[in-house]
């Protein structure tokens, strides 16, 4: 009995993974054929990009500040408080900027995509759209995915910048260190692989959070309770996958640029 259940669950997971792969691929390929709904792309860019600005700026600022605060005490033991700037900037650019922005935007937008599309499914609006001759994949999914990819890229840059600013404020105002030294250290130790790593990650994370949000939204069954379940699945799976893919990407970039680092 237990074996049967494990077997069924394993098959279900593999099947979901297969469905998701086809879904994500189709959404990507839709960008290379007509019709492309540019107005929807712009609208979603506004909702995802501009709408997420406050949470990304605030979380970036606080994270940079906390990094400076926590690292200062430890670095002081080695007489290395001067490298706080380097520590904050590298951590923000390589890891925390992309991952935090990905997770924050996923909490805000993957959930909204899953619940919005899920509600459309249970009220037959998706079927109505298909009956009116419009492909929901092209009209609803593809614009959301590409708006997420484009916006997460810029949001991550902002998060990095505000993280460094936050670290600087804490360093100067609370740790009473030299601000010029902080900025010099933050700037001088950034290398090309750090930038590559920091800017490639949001492209993947944007794709992950939006495709998972839309995927679970369009698979919704079981009325309003089903919408709730889809929303939870979307946020949890998107967040976990972002952290897992972050590990893979870090490993790949470190291997590829080992001589630079």
């Amino acid at each position: 009995m237990a074996l049967e259940r494990i077997d069924r669950t394993a098959k279900q997971i593999v099947l979901t993974l297969q469905d998701y792969s086809f879904f994500a691929l189709r959404a990507f390929l839709n960008l290379f054929s007509r019709p492309i709904y540019w107005a929807d792309f712009l609208l979603q860019s506004d909702i995802i990009g501009v709408g997420s600005l406050p949470i990304v700026v605030l979380s970036g600022l606080s994270t940079g500040g906390v990094l400076a605060l926590q690292s200062a005490a430890t670095l002081a033991n080695f007489g290395a408080t001067a490298v706080t700037g380097q520590f904050v900037s590298l951590t923000m650019i390589r890891e925390l900027g992309p991952v935090l922005t990905g997770v924050m935007v996923s909490g805000r937008n993957a959930s909204s995509m899953a619940s919005e599309l899920g509600s459309m499914v249970v009220t037959e609006q998706i079927d109505a759209m298909r009956a009116l001759g419009v492909d929901p994949m092209r009209k609803l999914v593809t614009p959301r995915i590409f708006a997420s990819v484009a916006m997460l890229f810029f949001l991550t840059i902002l998060s990095d910048a505000f993280g460094i600013v936050g670290g600087g404020l804490v360093t100067v105002l609370m740790n009473h260190q030299n601000g010029t030294q902080y900025l010099n250290m933050a700037w001088e130790h950034i290398r090309f692989p750090d930038i590559v790593q920091g800017l490639i990650k949001p492209l993947f994370f944007g794709y992950i959070l939006s495709s998972i949000g839309c995927f679970y939204g369009l698979r919704t069954t079981g009325g309003t309770q089903g919408v709730g379940r889809s929303t939870i699945s979307a946020v949890v799976n998107a967040s976990v996958l972002i952290i897992f893919v972050d590990f893979l990407l870090s490993h790949i970039v470190i291997t590829l640029f080992s001589s630079w680092m």
Binding site: Q125, M129, R130, A131, L132, G133, V134
Partner: protein, 278 residues
């Protein structure tokens, strides 16, 4: 039980117009017992077919099969002469624009105004705003809801939403109309208003249609009334007369057990039909 699909259908007359929609031995299941089994019927130009059956018998599934929103497990469905069962989804979008579908609860896009809902297809086709406004006003006047042009669906009553959904289905001048329980859950007065609109559509535009309902009263009203264009109202046909182009289908346990006119339906000796009628 007398199963229509199992009986060889009489061959149509050689000069009979080609069917707009044809189901041939269609079956579908969703991981359990079949929802529809060996269903066969046709809709010819000018015909209105009313699909009767108790709730949960597969009527809405049949309607979604008719325009390719669902695919059958076996059998063949031809819409305007095109086979749907194995067509690519991409090819079906164009075919669906030639049909109009009214969903059970209206299925209006709640983030769009009534104007944008009704004009949805026209907007996708980049029709000019002036033409869109004119055609939306015309469609809304047909369902007598011109005053709702700028409203959002959330501010409309259930009956008004169905009427807007009818306007949305009609605006593109469809070649086949599919109504999914258009009066389900409505009070008798609003139901009559909706049926009057459907009769008006039938008698004014003569668009072939398939209407799903479990309300016998609505089906009988459609069959025994016509739309009088002079008075702008639905009026009863003379006693013992019925609309010759309005006929019935009945589903029971996934099988089509009746296909014929109102007279044949009333005279049927099938125990399920009798139970349904009584």
């Amino acid at each position: 039980m007398d199963v229509i699909s199992a009986i060889p259908q009489p061959a149509p007359a050689p000069d009979a117009p080609l069917p707009v929609l044809a189901f041939q031995h269609v079956s579908i299941a969703f991981g359990g017992p079949p929802v529809l089994e060996q269903v066969s019927f046709t809709i010819r130009p000018g015909e209105t077919r009313i699909l009767l059956g108790p709730a949960g018998v597969g009527k809405s599934v049949l309607l979604k099969l008719a325009n390719g929103l669902l695919r059958p497990d076996t059998g063949c469905i031809e819409l305007f002469g095109h086979e749907l069962a194995y067509a690519r989804e991409h090819d079906l979008f164009h075919l669906r624009t030639r049909t109009g579908m009214v969903f059970q609860e209206g299925a209006l896009f709640d983030s769009l105004t009534v104007r944008d809902n009704v004009a949805y297809q026209l907007i996708q086709e980049n029709v000019s705003d002036e033409e869109i406004d004119a055609r939306v006003h015309e469609a809304l006047r047909f369902v007598e809801l011109d005053q709702t042009f700028d409203l959002f669906p959330v501010s409309l009553s259930g009956g008004m939403r169905r009427r807007v959904a009818i306007a949305r289905a009609l605006i593109h001048k469809p070649e086949l109309l599919l109504y999914d329980s258009p009066t389900g859950g409505l009070d008798p007065v609003t139901s009559t208003t909706i049926i009057e609109l459907i009769v008006k559509q039938r008698d004014v535009y003569r668009t072939p249609s398939l209407l799903v309902t479990h309300r016998l009263q609505d089906a009988f009203t459609m069959c025994t009334h016509r739309f009088d264009q002079d008075s702008g109202r639905m009026v009863p046909l003379p006693a013992h007369q019925t609309d010759p182009n309005t006929t019935f289908l009945m589903l029971s346990e996934g099988r089509l057990i009746f296909d014929g006119s109102l007279h044949k339906l009333v005279a049927s000796t099938d125990p399920f039909v009798r139970e349904f009628l009584e």
